[in-house]
């Protein structure tokens, strides 16, 4: 086939490409936003949290080794197990799989970087700074101690007066930001920055997994965002969402938490399953069997996982019918996992398998994960769960599925992809020892716990009585934990000694793999972006390595002198335009510092310092944003023979438009969770809704507000047309009018409620209505700030009829705010009237 770009390449083209991607020198390298740089930091930080969380577990196991021990007292132990779970789930498990995607995905897809490198850097720094600060609460004895799922009423101010619970609630905020930012990168990156010709059905399975995970994050995280908001409002202001005597309901928290919490574990597992699909094919030296089935199964797991959350609540007093449904769904989700397992087994059968270190970890994965999945099937059967729930049987199950389902594939991935980082592999001998110690350690620690739990030992106990049959089992489990610690220590030693970070070009092919991440690469990724014609391009065309390196494919240099990547169409990946990507800079890092400072200082009630942090974050975000939306520049530029592409895109094809859509779905899902809370509390209210003592405002107010909302959208839509026509006077008038109407809608709605004496601290009804109002106000405030920002760009000549991505994105948020406003009005004013 004719290659897209002709040889010889112009002199200096490679040098210009290298210069654009040059990282800053010395310590300033921390301002770099390159996905490989951030990705390695991200993986490293997550591994640090694995070690920290693991040390907590070692102390816990020391305390439980014998009955009646006094290694730590109950107060300390309760902080330890809360932090162990929280650190492992929020600061290790989700971040590490996200980090692997940050590092690997662009290369796998044939992109030079993620679509929003500064967002990625911001998300990483917020997670790193916030997570570490959160962890240090242990050293002050102020760590949370309500368990990693923090059920109220135990975690209300009445029963947990200390600041620990607030640390947890606000600390989770960082993880939420990181995860949502990650989801934006994943969805937009996977759908819009693939190499030309890499249609969806040619995309690596890891990309399918991360695409589904991105979608899952978008729908699952909002539930916990809303839940943590409600619990913090209750703790800080006494708004009684979870207090039964005031119309609240403790089960509301459980629904909100587990609607996030169950998909969360699949958010952790699916990337690992994607990695297994990649490594299995290479290890068996044959394409993955049943690719279509596997991609479908990944989507199936992701979808089904949203139906199962209530299986964490089987003893909470749900109705028989809902329990049957959830039990059936919990069994059904096993099927798409089974499809993947058998596809992998078939691939191994078809190919020739050598017992390399990655393969060894995969063998470990098959055993440990399958065992964990099977105990999951057991737990899905209701009467069995009624015995095993909240016992060490569940502790065994969750560690088998998480360690088996995520850690073993992760380590397989480490040993498989390590040569990509600096050209050198990790140690084969040490790797085998790491595997042996880990496999033995996991089984010695957790296999006995199945029995311990069925013999009656509950979870989350700092000690236990002797003579109940648990003594020997606990001792064995504790001894096993030492083996796990040894495995992790050896792993870190191996990584420390053998992993080299590549600044120079890396051109290595140790496994003779078939996918694009193995192309020769340097800081800029691959020299040119290949046209792809199959699922395993390097197997089908081994000459691709040299072609790409010589610059014979797309975008062999930089057309604007800046960092760039190709944006392609979502299904068939045909090139559409060139996305200019930002380079190193301080704003994302400083914005992360400011964000972390804001949340953490607010927790310890250092109000003015917190405000300072918040201002820093806002200023940095504005500086950052001001550098976006570069405009059409010098017009289309050549990326290949006979193909020139724009360097700027407006409208529905723009990648930032897609990011805005993702953000709107997140906001909508968050509001949806709030709507659920409202309806749930209303349905459960024993004495009517609105509560006695509360009432609905006069219907005229919301009608007026609805009209104002709609009018403000109409005016903004007209402003968009004015912008296209260049009628700047009209633009200002219409934006001002739209803004005024939006403010008016909020004010009218608030006025109506205040007139009937809305008292959020009195009853859950008032609290929920007040929260709806606050969320509307906050969304509207954001839209108003963005509108002002857009006008500021107009005043500085940076926004006009052709350079208008900023305005278009603001308009999206504007319409979303109006839609949310209308739904909120319907919820608060129509629903109770309809049900009266």
């Amino acid at each position: 086939m004719t290659r897209p770009s002709a040889l010889p390449r112009p002199a200096g083209e490679l040098e210009r490409l290298e210069a654009a991607w040059q990282p800053p020198r010395g310590w300033r390298v921390i301002t770099d936003v390159n996905n490989t740089f951030v990705g390695l930091l991200y993986i490293g930080t997550a591994m640090l949290f694995l070690v920290l969380g693991g040390i907590l577990a070692l102390v816990m196991r020391a305390q439980l080794a014998v009955p009646g021990a006094s290694v730590v007292g109950p107060g300390a132990y309760n902080q330890l197990f809360t932090m162990h779970g929280s650190v492992m789930m929020f600061l290790f498990a989700v971040p590490v799989v996200e980090a692997m995607a940050v590092y690997l995905l662009p290369a796998m897809l044939g992109a030079r970087d993620l679509p929003f490198p500064r967002l990625n850097a911001y998300a990483y720094w917020a997670y790193a700074i916030g997570g570490l600060a959160f962890f240090t609460s242990l050293f002050f004895g102020r760590a949370p101690d309500g368990g990693w799922f923090m059920y109220p009423p135990l975690t209300s101010t009445r029963f947990s007066p200390d600041v620990g619970a607030d640390f947890w609630l606000l600390g989770i905020g960082f993880i939420e930001i990181s995860a949502i930012a990650g989801a934006i990168e994943l969805i937009v990156g996977i759908l819009r920055t693939r190499a030309p010709g890499m249609s969806l059905s040619r995309m690596p399975v890891f990309a399918w997994a991360m695409l589904v995970v991105g979608g899952m994050v978008v729908f699952a995280f909002p539930s916990i965002i809303l839940g943590t908001l409600l619990l913090e409002l209750e703790r800080a202001f006494g708004w009684p969402f979870f207090v039964p005597d005031q119309g609240g309901n403790p089960l509301l928290w459980q629904h909100l938490f587990w609607f996030f919490g169950h998909p969360d574990v699949y958010i952790i597992f699916l990337p690992a399953a994607g990695m297994v699909s990649m490594v299995v094919a290479t290890m068996a030296r044959t394409p993955l069997v049943g690719y279509g089935w596997v991609a479908g199964a990944v989507l199936g797991v992701g979808t089904f996982s949203f139906l199962l959350w209530a299986h964490h609540m089987f003893t909470a007093g749900l109705t028989k019918h809902s329990m049957y449904f959830v039990s059936a769904a919990s069994l059904a989700v096993v099927v798409p996992s089974g499809i993947q397992v058998f596809a992998w087994l078939a691939t191994l059968r078809r190919g020739r398998v050598q017992l390399t270190v990655p393969m060894l970890f995969l063998v470990g994965f098959f055993f440990v994960f399958t065992l964990g999945g099977l105990t999951g099937v057991m737990l899905a059967v209701l009467p069995f769960d009624w015995q095993a729930h909240d016992t060490h049987f569940v502790v065994a199950h969750l560690h088998y599925v998480l360690i088996g389902g995520m850690l073993f594939p992760l380590l397989a991935g480490f040993y498989y992809w390590a040569p990509l980082v600096g050209g050198r592999p990790l140690s084969d001998r040490m790797g085998r020892w790491v595997f042996g110690l880990l496999f033995a350690g996991v089984n010695v620690t957790f296999l006995p716990m199945h029995l311990t739990g069925l013999l009656g030992m509950p979870r989350r106990v700092y000690t236990y009585q002797a003579g109940l049959g648990w003594d020997g089992l606990n001792l064995v489990s504790s001894l096993g934990s030492v083996l796990i610690a040894a495995a992790v220590a050896l792993l870190l030693l191996d990584i420390g000694r053998h992993l080299r970070s590549g600044g120079a070009e890396v051109d290595t092919d140790p496994w003779r793999a078939g996918t694009l991440e193995w192309l020769p690469h340097a800081g800029y990724g691959m020299r040119s972006i290949p046209r792809v014609e199959s699922r395993y391009p390097l197997w089908d065309r081994p000459e691709l390595r040299d072609e790409v390196k010589r610059g014979e494919h797309y975008l062999p240099g930089t057309v604007t002198g800046r960092r760039e990547t190709l944006v392609t169409s979502p299904r068939r990946a045909e090139p559409q335009y060139i996305a200019i990507l930002p380079g190193p800079g301080w704003p994302p890092l400083l914005a992360a510092v400011g964000t972390a400072a804001f949340f953490l200082l607010l927790t310890v009630k250092l109000l003015w310092l917190a405000v300072a942090g918040g201002i820093l974050a806002l200023v940095m975000l504005l500086v950052w944003a001001w550098g976006t939306d570069p405009g059409p520049g010098d017009g289309p530029a050549p990326v290949a023979r006979g193909l020139s592409l724009p360097v700027y895109m407006t409208g529905r094809s723009a990648h930032s438009w897609w990011a805005m859509i993702v953000i709107m779905v997140v906001l909508g899902a968050t509001f949806g969770s709030l709507a659920f809370a409202y309806v749930y509390l209303g349905l459960r209210a024993p004495v009517g809704w609105p509560a006695p003592g509360s009432s609905l405002p006069w219907g005229g107010w919301p009608a007026l507000a609805a009209g104002a909302w709609l009018a403000s959208s109409a005016l903004m839509a007209a402003a968009s047309r004015a912008l296209r026509a260049g009628a700047m006077g009209w633009l200002h008038f219409l934006v001002a009018g739209g803004a005024g109407l939006m403010l008016g809608a909020i004010a009218v709605e608030a006025f109506g409620h205040l007139r009937v004496g809305l008292a959020p601290a009195r009853h859950a009804y008032d609290a929920t209505v007040a929260t709806i109002l606050c969320v509307q106000a906050a969304t509207a405030a954001t839209a108003l700030v963005l509108a002002l920002y857009a006008l500021a760009r107009v005043w500085r000549g940076l926004l006009d009829g052709t350079r208008r991505v900023t305005f278009d994105n603001m308009l999206l948020l504007w319409h979303y705010t109006v839609g949310q406003g209308l739904v909120g009005l319907g919820l608060v004013h129509l629903v109770p009237r309809l049900f009266a």
Partner: protein, 304 residues
């Protein structure tokens, strides 16, 4: 005995059989998967049928097995969830931070209040209504069946049915704060006549203390303000923040299963309760002089 694998009632027995079946089934499937892995990895490369492996093994096989499992599980669920017959004895248990208040129906509508121990007649199902005034606890006696969460504002019910006499230990199974680990209870199943006798004894007020230390102990009890938290029917003590002590000495354990119940343990609890069960709500009485402690201990140890 606190084990789901040592059932002493029909519900627990059904679940134990289910457990055995599930364990055998799971083990077989694990062997199958590992067997296929070894088989595939060690044989020479060969073409594979996606239909057989992925659709047959990955889709059809799990669907069939899981569907059958669901139906079987539903049958056991229905049996286990069967409510007690109408007119069954109804006991109320309230989970509190780190002990259990137990209320039996009494004469004229006033419940007979005790703590940390239930007695039930063998051979019949008893209904337990569980709730909590503070945080979420969970009522669990594994030898007799599954657990039920005790959620504030949401009373729930479960059935207890012991087939043979025995002492069955239960433990709180929902993390409820600092002393969740030491919140145990005992269910004592006994023949109906013994049960009736126990109920009658429980309903009676405390006898007047004997001369000497016990009588002095009652005075200490009142002087130290113990009545602010504890009730002893037959005295002026009517506190309801802590367990009812009317028949304290008749129980087998102290402090919700944390200690044996003898004079030495009572004394140790009074003097050093915050070391034995750190964080529990009872203040320390270490400041009492030895004579007062001895008297108080003698009084409490005589509350049969």
């Amino acid at each position: 005995m606190q084990s789901a694998l040592s059932p002493a009632g029909p519900a627990a027995r059904d679940i134990a059989s289910l457990t055995t079946l599930l364990t055998i089934g799971a083990s077989l499937i694990l062997l199958l998967v590992m067997g296929l892995l070894l088989y595939g990895a060690r044989r020479e490369p060969a073409p594979v049928s996606t239909g057989l492996w992925v659709v047959g093994g990955g889709l059809a096989f799990p669907v069939i097995v899981l569907f059958a499992l669901f139906l079987y599980g539903a049958r056991v669920t229905n049996t286990v969830m069967a409510p007690p017959p109408p007119g069954a004895l109804r006991i109320e248990v309230e989970g509190r931070q780190w002990w259990w208040e137990v209320r039996y129906p009494g004469a004229a509508g006033t419940p007979v209040v005790g703590a940390n121990e239930l007695h039930v007649p063998i051979g019949t199902a008893v209904e337990v209504i569980v709730t909590s005034p503070d945080v979420i606890h969970s009522f669990w006696v594994p030898s007799l069946g599954g657990k039920m969460d005790m959620t504030p504002g949401q009373p729930a019910r479960l059935a207890l049915h012991a087939e043979r006499p025995g002492v069955y230990r239960g433990q709180c199974a929902e993390y409820c704060g600092i002393q969740h680990a030491q919140m145990a209870l005992l269910v004592i199943a006994e023949p109906p006549e013994a049960f009736e006798a126990w109920v009658r004894a429980e309903a009676a007020p405390a006898q007047a203390p004997a001369e000497g230390d016990p009588a002095r102990g009652l005075a200490v009890f009142m002087a130290q303000g113990c009545a602010g938290c504890h009730t002893i029917r037959g005295t002026a003590a009517r506190g309801d923040l802590g367990p009812d002590l009317t028949h304290l000495a008749g129980r087998r354990t102290l402090a919700a299963g944390s200690l044996p119940n003898d004079a030495g343990a009572i004394r140790a609890w009074l003097a050093a309760g915050s070391a034995l069960k750190p964080g529990n709500r009872m203040p320390s009485y270490a400041h009492l002089d030895a004579a007062s402690l001895d008297a108080l201990t003698a009084y409490l140890a005589a509350l049969r």
